[in-house]
């Protein structure tokens, strides 16, 4: 059998991996003091090169499938890959100015995690989904613990590791059952087998198949932090270093959603969509309600963002019932808007941290508008984006998702969207209100913490990019959503 190598489609992944190796090599060859800056340049360069190779795939590669069908970098993969690479780029910028420690290892892991995420979008085989999930998870377990002298980070990493490994076990046990029922690991083969079940009327016999798909969804739902598999999210978000929290909040969600969409499009025949997807809709509804209402009692901004992430995972599931072009392009749009908003809010946390203040305490935001006016305005805009208030991008994203849900006749999730948007608007407006409250006292820096100018500059750059991104997606939704739609239409 000839070896089916297709380096055109693998190029983005290879660029990320090569960047990671280059960074490790730089650390080995040069003195630490001189090489710190170039390592960040190399990391940003690797992401940009990966994005460069993604452009032809966005336009539609002549042959999107390679490596014997293992890797399918079609336009779907390119769209989600684009979202993920932007997240990686902003996360690298946010990481500038981390405490003096192993920078090369951190950056290499960040790039490898990005590789795993992009790989998930282009998975053509259950083996590749498993590989992608593990690549991004193993890298993230280590990155979460990457905070010197902070026990909370280690605890968060350990909790995430134990629960994440159990989720991975559910995932592959599900894959094993799917393999047993269909006799193939290829997603295209599974799609064919699932259609043949129905035509022979043998669908009822496929107990292994149904349980297998269910377990696989449990594994992916864990990565997306859907209720009831969300227990880890608040602790991990709070414990992890801020740049890592920002990265994983958007990265793992987008990647796991892409894999889930790919698996479900193949594994669920049209005729069985309603009964098959009802449990998922209920999970989505529960996630939205819990995520929105638990935010009310949070005094920690990172925890609040974790609950917001849980609610947003529910919103993303709205794209699933129709499983059509509308839903998937709406989800990609929403992920973009959500990603910009989240990244920007964590950039604000980082700006406070640059002055030695514990930025994750909502109390420390008090009077932010009067001390740094434009940071306060950007914060308000980004929370508008999360709440779905125009002119921010989240509004358009939610609107597109609602349309997709109506077309898919998913009334449960639509009701959840409306209810939870109301509750979460209260939560977000409360935070904005804190930032706009007049106060005389500035928040006190933590002991031993010193202001760090490069960190602040880098975080401000991220904040500006995020705010502009949110605004563009909100004010000019037409071009962006059309771009996504056209890109996905060729699927």
């Amino acid at each position: 059998m000839p070896v089916d190598l297709n380096f055109t489609i693998a190029a983005p992944l290879l660029a990320l991996a090569a960047g990671a190796l280059l960074i490790l090599l730089l650390d080995l060859l040069f003195k630490y003091e001189t090489i710190q800056g170039p390592m960040y340049v190399a990391a940003i360069g690797a992401v940009l090169v990966a994005g460069w190779y993604l452009v032809p795939l966005w336009q539609g590669a002549a042959d999107p499938s390679g490596f014997a069908g293992m890797l399918v970098m079609d336009r779907f993969a390119a769209v989600y890959g684009g979202v993920l690479l932007i997240a990686a780029l902003l996360a690298i910028l946010l990481s500038i100015g981390r405490a003096r420690e192993d920078q090369s290892g951190y950056l290499a892991l960040l790039l490898w995690a990005a590789m795993g995420m992009v790989l998930l979008g282009g998975a053509g085989n259950l083996m590749v989904i498993f590989l992608g999930i593990e690549l991004l998870s193993l890298a993230l377990y280590v990155m979460i613990a990457f905070a010197p002298r902070r026990m909370a980070a280690r605890e968060a990493a350990f909790k995430y590791f134990i629960l994440g490994s159990v989720a991975a076990a559910f995932l592959i046990f599900g894959f094993a059952l799917i393999y047993g029922a269909t006799g193939t690991m290829s997603i295209a083969g599974i799609a064919e087998a699932a259609r043949s079940f129905t035509s022979e009327g043998a669908w009822a016999v496929g107990l292994y198949y149904k349980v297998g798909v269910g377990l696989a969804i449990v594994g992916l739902a864990f990565k997306m932090a859907l209720v009831p598999f969300h227990i880890w999210a608040p602790d991990v978000y709070q414990g992890a270093p801020t740049p890592v929290t920002a990265y994983m909040s958007i990265g793992t969600k987008a990647a796991a959603f892409a894999a889930m969409a790919r698996l479900l499009v193949a594994a669920v025949p049209e005729a069985y969509q309603p009964s098959f997807l009802l449990p998922l809709s209920i999970l989505a509804f529960a996630s939205m309600m819990l995520g929105a209402s638990a935010g009310i009692w949070q005094s920690d901004l990172k925890r609040l963002m974790a609950y917001s992430g849980i609610a947003n995972a529910g919103y993303l599931i709205m794209a699933i019932p129709g499983l059509g072009l509308d839903g998937l392009s709406a989800a990609a749009y929403y992920l973009g808007a959500y990603g910009f908003a989240t990244m920007g809010i964590f950039a604000v946390v980082r700006i406070l941290e640059a002055d030695g203040v514990d930025g994750s305490q909502i109390a420390n935001l008090k009077g932010l508008f009067y001390r740094q006016p434009w940071v306060g305005v950007c914060l308000a805009l980004l929370f508008f984006g999360l709440a779905g208030i125009p002119p921010a991008g989240g509004f358009v994203g939610k609107f597109l998702l609602a349309i997709a849900a109506v077309r898919g006749q998913a009334w449960i999730v639509l009701a959840g969207l409306i209810l939870s948007t109301g509750i979460s608007a209260y939560v977000y407006l409360k935070v904005i209100g804190t930032a706009f409250t007049r106060t005389k006292e500035a928040p006190q820096p933590e002991e031993g913490a010193e202001p760090h100018a490069p960190t602040r500059t880098a975080a401000q750059v991220v904040l500006v990019i995020a705010a502009v991104g949110t605004l563009v997606m909100g004010v000019l939704p037409g071009p962006v959503s059309e771009l996504v739609r056209v890109a996905l239409a060729g699927m």
């Binding site: 613990a145 590791f161 490994s165 076990a169 894959f175």
Partner: protein, 102 residues
């Protein structure tokens, strides 16, 4: 060699998987939790090999090897995190790790 039906293998791996899951829930030692996770992964491996045999292809066996490899990497990271977290504590008990709470 007595030939078992495929369902017997599925039942055995389901039992192993459940045992592993219960182990993660009830054991308080991080090492025992790691071993329980290994048991869950190996239950899936058994299933892959059994189904691979039934279908007559190599895919199941390849996947089993892939899972073994990844599980080794996972254990390496898990042990590193365990050492990092419990080095300063007199005993390794996950109930004492409760800094992050609601």
């Amino acid at each position: 060699m007595p030939a078992f039906s495929l369902n017997a293998y599925v039942a055995l791996s389901a039992v192993l998987f459940a045992l592993g899951g219960i182990g993660v829930l009830v054991r308080r030692s991080p090492l025992a939790m790691l071993m329980s996770i290994e048991l869950m992964l190996n239950a899936a491996n058994l299933l892959f090999v059994a189904f691979g045999r039934a279908h007559g292809g190599y895919e199941g066996q390849i996947m089993a090897f892939l899972v073994i490899t990844v599980a080794a990497a996972e254990v390496a990271i898990g042990l590193a995190l365990t050492v990092l977290l419990f080095r300063r504590r007199p005993e390794a008990d996950v109930d004492q790790v409760n800094e992050l709470r609601l």
